[in-house]
Symmetry: C2
Subunit: 121 residues, 2 copies
Amino acid sequence: MTYTSINFADKFSLIKRQWEPKVIAEMNGTQFLLEKLKGDFVWHSHEDTDEVFIVITGNLRIDFRGGAVNIAPGEMFVVPKGVEHKPYAEHEVCVLILEPRDIAITGHEGKKNFSNVKAWI
Amino acid sequence: MTYTSINFADKFSLIKRQWEPKVIAEMNGTQFLLEKLKGDFVWHSHEDTDEVFIVITGNLRIDFRGGAVNIAPGEMFVVPKGVEHKPYAEHEVCVLILEPRDIAITGHEGKKNFSNVKAWI
């Protein structure tokens, strides 16, 4: 094994495009993804898994059918499984997302630059 | 459900004692724990699970039998399951730890102020 920590800022500097999650680590099959977001995602849910958002820089809003949450740097939020949600960022936000390696998306309407094969950086 | 983000700094302000992990969230049975550490923990391993350390403030060193890793704020590290390790902090460090709700510790030699019933804050 290697004894090197993973630096979020260093990894984000390697990400050139928005809406392209990159894998930086795994824990028991849960992937740690870094992603730059700006604008609207689509309404969707994950029937079999919770999803965690941790904001590194910028501000992320997640809309729900019954409300919304604002997540600032140094904050996190758990979207419970089965709950419809739509991420939104007015300005670019750098987010750490935790989701299972084999995650399924339900109600997906299409996503720009999306790849099911998530690359490591 | 509530639409409130979890602010790490706010939660850490509620933690008065070192070596007492507090639960702030769960994702699919994985707990998100905040803990203040200073000094040496004991050598131990987790036979059935990886463990994640994300440093919020301060600096954490994790010793292994074959090396060590230094984790600064904005950095993370995954300790693979079965690998003996010993966290150490010269000064107090505020850490976000991810581990299963029902984690077992192998090789545990004793821990100050440890409680198996992890309280939520």
